[in-house]
Symmetry: D2
Subunit: 257 residues, 4 copies
């Protein structure tokens, strides 16, 4: 069984800040949001975590390996360098979606995302070192088969984008509903999903579902390890196997389907 520690990163009172005293320049908001995400990617990534930009004012991270002290350091570092602060809710569960639900509750219980008095919350359940195993995190890395040939080199760039967006939207809903998984678009034609313990058949099924619903053909590499970094790297290598072998589903342990 997996045991995923999930952290919800929520920028405090961001909506109001963006329009006070009046609306701020969009290009500056985009710069701020992207750089905050990039910094969090390094801060969590330096300790083997993964973080996904999600909505930018709400970001989701897989943080097996980061304890309360590490989270506090990240929160402090952001407060020292940005004009905004972040609240962090943490929870652990075999189901990533359930863990995220608990993490979200941590913040909601403390106050609204747009409550100027609710800032820099840090709370929840951290996976104790003694309870950690090499099977805690399962990461699946999907990409579109030959996106460059089928879309990027052929269609208007926005139409390529629509096709990939539809594939992502269908996959994210299916993986959430059927498998309690959290899926994130990470650029190009790539989607990374954080899953509970799923079988190859479940992935085969997800791929067939997306192909059937929106006619987008995916392949996937899956990895399992102690941390998101490790599981994610195994998933990447497994995806390379899909590319070389022409298979649709490859697990980091060499099995394929």
């Amino acid at each position: 069984m997996t045991n995923t520690q999930v952290t919800l990163v929520q920028v405090d009172n961001y909506g109001p800040w963006t329009v006070t005293p009046e609306p701020r320049r969009e290009v500056d908001l985009q710069t701020l949001q992207s750089r905050l995400y990039a910094d969090l990617s390094q801060l969590f990534g330096n300790r083997e975590g993964y973080v996904f930009f999600t909505r930018f004012d709400n970001m989701i991270a897989v943080t097996n390996g980061l304890d309360r002290e590490a989270h506090a350091l990240i929160q402090e570092s952001v407060a020292n360098r940005y004009p905004v602060t972040v609240s962090l809710g943490v929870a652990t569960d075999p189901s990533p979606a359930a863990a995220l639900g608990d993490a979200t509750n941590q913040l909601q219980a403390a106050g609204s995302a747009q409550d100027e008095d609710r800032t820099q919350i840090l709370g929840g359940g951290f996976l104790a070192g003694a309870d950690r195993t090499d099977a805690d995190v399962q990461i699946a890395h999907f990409d579109v088969i030959d996106a460059t040939g089928k879309y990027t080199d052929k269609l208007n760039a926005f139409d390529s984008f629509i096709r990939i967006e539809q594939g992502y939207a269908e996959l994210m809903r299916h993986m959430r509903r059927a498998h309690d998984s959290l899926s994130f678009f990470v650029g190009g034609d790539n989607v990374i999903a954080v899953c509970p313990e799923l079988t190859p058949a479940a992935y085969r099924d997800a791929i067939d579902h997306v192909a059937g619903e929106v006619d987008v053909d995916l392949q996937v590499g899956v990895g399992r390890a102690r941390t998101a970094q490790d599981a994610g790297m195994r998933a990447k290598h497994a995806l390379e196997e899909c590319r070389h072998e022409g298979t649709a589903v490859e697990f980091g342990d060499g099995s394929h389907y």
Copy 2:
């Protein structure tokens, strides 16, 4: 009539670079992609343009006001500071989608996105100063009515994300198909669309469509100006009017619906 100058920014040979000699750490790719986008936001934004992250390896910008020399400077600056380079295709048309189609052709004609010999292309049609008017760019800034109350403070963070993602996916497809517009999620619950000359009824219609299809309620502020920065800021202020007046569609000139 609008006259939108659109630039397609495509990272050269990115897919292969990310896995050569072997797959690179995901947290570093995320950092690289986000910071490249943030820098482009400043480089285009400093001259009144807007750029949207889109797929990160392919980004779309509205560049009325940036000539060939400005584009060359941006391209050179990226080459001086990143381990990758970018190609830029530019085109102008009253229809944003058509402009993007022509811009995409510029790059496709020169070679594949994954051709290691096709790098730093710069070509296309720049809107001459003498032809520019104060009505060249129409920007629409949508957001979800009370997203914080309905979703962020209530649901599991991924379910909030799914609702907003669905609203965006439905809006982007509709605006593209019915109105030749290019719509981009920009964080939080916000979507910015680059449109041709559309009437308030067209926006009313888009909002009704999204509400009907996926049950997500939007409001929109619309601005028109010489540059994306100006049009976008007018749209933001108009959106504030929606918030205060409780209207669904506000134009920067004070009319509402």
Copy 3:
């Protein structure tokens, strides 16, 4: 005659901010300072200016080509993305040192650098377009002859640093006292000086002075143009000539000494 527009960038109330409510982590202050400088380098550089990190809470820029509106945009962009704000004092004079003196007065007259009520000052004298010429800015780019062979590959890294630091300290004092010039260490073994109209003999003299006082051997390339970017690039190319020809002083127009 040169006509240098100089801008003093001063972070508002920075000292107190770094220790309120208590001392902030040094690594975060270093990150903040360096990134603010990097962003200013792009903001000024995008419009052909140069900026030098100097003391990080006080930075000096050569801003021929940037008017009041451009300065206001830079100030606004910083306020949107950083937890601190900046004040900008501007002045123009054939003497760079005199221009900086006037620019400094702009800020000092408005209040102390550590006055929490003095923020985001923007004032001074901007060089009017009609008054600009191709000879407004003279930039000199010095480096140490064979620093790698003499120091970097031979000495303890701190001792290499001390040698270069001494060379810089001697040069900066001499150029200020004798020639009203502002000299800045820019990394490696490089120093860039902003000068009034100086003759080759003046540069020869400065080089001899430094060699005599601290036994550090310099060479220099000099450029003259309408903007810092242009003058600076000509100076860089002239410095390459020194390297190839073995000369000590090269001017961008081909003359050498």
Copy 4:
């Protein structure tokens, strides 16, 4: 006795890269250098280290707490995100200067700083966990007494800079020669020195020396701990004591002089 682990960070073949195929825009080099330093500040700082920008192409870090694996991760992260790579030489010694000398040898033995075939060296002596104590690192944080009142609010900004630069240059040479210490200007009017076990009298002496030679009045806070981060934060707090008590030398343990 202290036991300082020092890392020399050297950008590989940087000089040639900056002028190939021809000189690169200075504002881009400044941006690149500053951001690389900022990233290293976070990468080392995330694990309780300190890094100083020094010459930007050669940077010095105090890395007690970072093992070989941590150094390799930092090196890999830079290679994934920058157009340059770094070599890392590491050594440990009670004397910071001696440790840096050994660290420098690591790189010099492998090849020149401007040898295109010498890249990404990683070697040296890492302080074993079992050998670490709470007294390994001594950090001294100096600043100029009332720099704002005496210089910043009174003098031309470059003349303030010259005064502070002279104070730094004198202090750095004295601390190196007399005490084997490495001193770094860190912005504003602050200098941080990495020292062996020094007595209050040694600091009193250094302050008197600088006042006598160049008429710049310093105060200093000193901290001792297991890591640079801890020792440095104690030093900062001790410096606050100097400010409040009017003393010249304060140790983190409460003693003053």
